[in-house]
Symmetry: C2
Subunit: 212 residues, 2 copies
DNA sequence: CCTGATGTTGACACAGTGTCAATCACTAGA
DNA sequence: TCTAGTGATTGACACTGTGTCAACATCAGG
């Protein structure tokens, strides 16, 4: 009877999700480095050893969390684009959505930062899932760029949209990171974080705006 | 006789430097996370316990390394600016110097990335030194921006140069990071890393260029 | 009731960090 | 020259966290 194997499969998937959610909760509370596998196990109400049945190691668990974060991000980006017609407005909305994502789910943004900073080893299954997730996020942006070029709201000579996409990613992610991590430093220099982000978006529009 | 205390002070400083250099060497070889205090001690030919006399903990040692990296970076930026007259050319040269810095001293760039990503706790003496170092790096860029505005090679309506400076930092650092960490990913999508950086610099110039 | 497969765990070995009392080296004053 | 004292240096320890493994538990199917 295969429906039994099926049920087991589902339970396994559910437990896997429970572990991830427990880890996410702790991540949000104290930052990834302070999270121990023991705490994750306790929070998910199972033994530490069992975690290693579901995840190769702590890094593997982080990849799973990052995958979910990227999924959430893509969803938010799609939502943001759906609210605008013009390509350039979609891109701006994506930038705004990214900043909001950081504010509302700081730990997920942190996971993205780690993914962003860590160089790929390739081979881990969960890491590949991460890469796929990252690609699909970029795909949303690329689409908006194409639309913008088509509707004339973005200059046609920006070059390869995918390359530009990487630039936008670097720009937005970096700026948000600076704004959040160095907020004290920034404030000390007499800059207001809100206006920094605001002008950042303006600069972004300027980058893409067609010559008048 | 105070010249004895003086000599001791110098020896202490020298030993401190030896520790840092040992740590840097290991950092370059295997990445910071894989470096253990024991290895640092062995490489510097002293006991592990002594490290903790000179540095509060491993993170403190990293701050010291980062401080030196930022110093090196500022030096390279100053060198780069000195080779150009026009403000915009200086800024472009800084971007290029940053990329070169990554290629030649990957571990120092990595240290900068960690500094960039880690949020300040404020209080550690070496961390404050890092912040000061970071500020002086930014100061070099700000100066070139001002010059560019003065000589007309950079549009005057970019807004507060310091804010723009943060944007340039975010943009350049993020792009270099992506180019190096995700090179496989990028290549797989049919993009050549060299041209990505090239076009990134072009985009940077476009950002700052005065309307014709 | 037995059996085999799958799920689950306690206990272990290992690696790395940070601390501290004890020891060593050397200077200055008796 | 001897010795007290100060600062440099270390071995050994306690602690925390990771990943593994043999053993135990559960349960469907014969």
């Amino acid at each position: 009877m295969s429906y039994i194997a099926e049920r087991r499969e589902e339970e396994k998937e559910r437990r896997r999700l429970e572990i991830i959610e427990a880890a996410e909760q702790l991540y949000a509370e104290k930052g990834w480095d302070s999270v121990t596998m023991d705490q994750v196990a306790r929070t998910a109400r199972l033994s530490r050893a069992l975690l290693y049945v579901y995840f190769k190691d702590k890094e593997d668990l982080l990849f799973a969390i990052t995958g979910r974060a990227l999924e959430e991000l893509r969803h938010r980006f799609e939502q943001a684009t759906s609210e605008h017609q013009l390509g350039i407005d979609q891109v701006t909305a994506i930038g705004r959505a990214y900043a909001l994502f950081q504010q509302e789910n700081p730990f997920q943004f942190d996971a993205c930062s780690r993914y962003h900073a860590h160089q790929a080893h390739l081979g881990e299954p969960n890491e590949l899932a991460c890469n796929a997730g990252g690609d699909s996020v970029l795909a949303v942006i690329v689409e908006s760029l194409h639309r913008g070029i088509a509707d004339g709201s973005i200059r046609a000579d920006i070059g390869d949209p995918l390359k530009v996409c990487f630039m936008l990613w670097a720009f937005s992610h970096g700026l948000i990171q600076i704004a959040t991590n160095k907020s004290q430093e920034i404030a000390r220099q007499g800059i207001e974080v809100g206006t920094l982000m605001e002008e950042g978006r303006a600069m972004l529009r300027h980058m893409l705006a067609p010559g008048k």
